[in-house]
């Protein structure tokens, strides 16, 4: 029982823990944003989609995942490049999509 509770079976590393903490922090930030400015900020963006803030975060996260996969599969450059590109894309999504 103690082994189950200490979560070692989940094979945690500090890198993956940081990754999940960032996701969790983003969700918390979105909750606070919604609390401060209710309604989700709906908008008809340049892709012709009606999106809320939550949709934009989802598109940014999914897009980031594919940008990182593409970066790993198609280039030999450090992964930071993919992360920077993802941040630029996320900014664009939140600004215009």
């Amino acid at each position: 029982m103690a082994h189950w509770l200490d979560l070692t079976w989940m094979a945690w590393t500090w890198q993956t823990a940081t990754f999940f903490l960032v996701i969790f922090a983003l969700l918390c930030a979105m909750t606070i944003w919604e609390w401060a400015s209710p309604g989700g900020g709906p908008r008809h963006g340049i892709l012709g989609l009606d999106t809320t803030r939550g949709d934009r975060l989802f598109i940014s996260l999914l897009g980031s995942a594919f940008i990182h996969l593409g970066w790993l599969g198609l280039t030999d450059m450090p992964l930071w490049g993919g992360t920077i590109l993802s941040l630029i894309c996320a900014y664009a999504v939140f600004r215009w999509v």
């Binding site: 989940m10 094979a11 993956t16 999914l62 995942a65 996969l69």
Partner: protein, 287 residues
């Protein structure tokens, strides 16, 4: 009268959130953790970073099984959706035969997936199976355990037999929801059978067909049990789809890191396509 907003109602959702956390989120987090580490068992792990992702994304084996997966999904969607709509159009709209047709259509959906695989395995055996023996007796060389084409033919046929009913039932539900007045108006205008289908039935089935395509895409993209029981991924790797390859890597070769990285990529692809379909469906609603 003003509406009362009570945010405490969200607490009622907590049990569902806990359930989802335990059966989806925590296992998914564990897979992410595995995908960046190497293990030789005994709960010992060694951090490898994104090495497994690089290996998977540049591996010919992964590309091949992904190609087979997309090919299979494409083929069955191209067959099942038009065939399902065609069958639904021929089904009676009223009368006692409606129930008979619906029960007959629902039967394949009630059979467990491994039983479907076993049934078709027996039926396709070249020496004693009805399908295998029959085709060979007609002079068509058929052996699904040796010929990749025969194996693909059998797997596709099995899936079409098993799942076209779902498309039929959804399309039939869409057809039944069309008010009789539309047909009467078309009759007054002297519309042909094709025009009725093109301008009344198809647009009205749009929504259910999108759901049908989404469900069939997701199911066929994640198909495992039926082809595994039928062909085991063979002959060679001819019917080794992504899910079968994943299980081979995880359980057959105990490459947990590579299997976990494959799982995440597989999950992201399914998520992307599901999101595209969801967006299309909700856009349809808005229009």
């Amino acid at each position: 009268m003003t509406k009362t907003w009570n945010n405490r109602a969200w607490f009622l959702v907590l049990p569902v959130l806990l359930l989802v956390a335990f059966n989806a989120i925590i296992p998914l987090m564990t897979v992410v953790n595995y995908s960046v580490q190497e293990t030789f068992g005994n709960n010992l792990f060694f951090f490898e970073g994104v090495k497994w992702y690089e290996d998977v994304l540049t591996s010919e084996r992964f590309h091949d099984s992904l190609f087979r997966q997309f090919l299979f999904t494409g083929i069955i969607l191209l067959i099942e959706v038009p065939l399902g709509v065609a069958i639904a159009l021929t089904m009676p709209r009223s009368g006692p035969w409606v129930s008979v047709c619906l029960v007959l259509m629902a039967l394949p959906l009630l059979i467990p997936w491994n039983v479907v695989g076993a049934m078709w395995n027996i039926m396709a055996l070249p020496d004693i199976g009805l399908l295998g023996y029959g085709l060979n007796a007609l002079g068509i060389p058929y052996n699904f355990t040796r010929q990749p084409i025969s194996a693909w033919f059998t797997v596709v046929l099995m899936d079409v037999w098993h799942w076209t009913s779902l498309v039929v039932l959804l399309a039939y539900a869409g057809l039944r929801s069309i008010p009789e007045a539309y047909y009467q108006a078309a009759k007054i205008d002297g519309a042909s059978r094709w025009s009725v289908f093109r301008y009344i039935q198809l647009p009205k089935m749009n929504r259910v067909l999108t759901i049908a395509v989404l469900l069939r895409f997701m199911d066929s993209f994640m198909i495992y049990t039926e082809p595994f029981v039928l062909t085991g991924g063979g002959p060679g790797n001819a019917t080794t789809f992504l899910s079968i390859d994943l299980v081979k890597a995880a359980l057959g070769e105990f490459n947990l890191g590579i299997a976990a990285a494959m799982s995440i990529i597989y999950f992201l692809m399914t998520l992307l396509v599901s999101w595209i379909f969801y967006t299309l469906m909700t856009r349809g609603d808005e229009q």
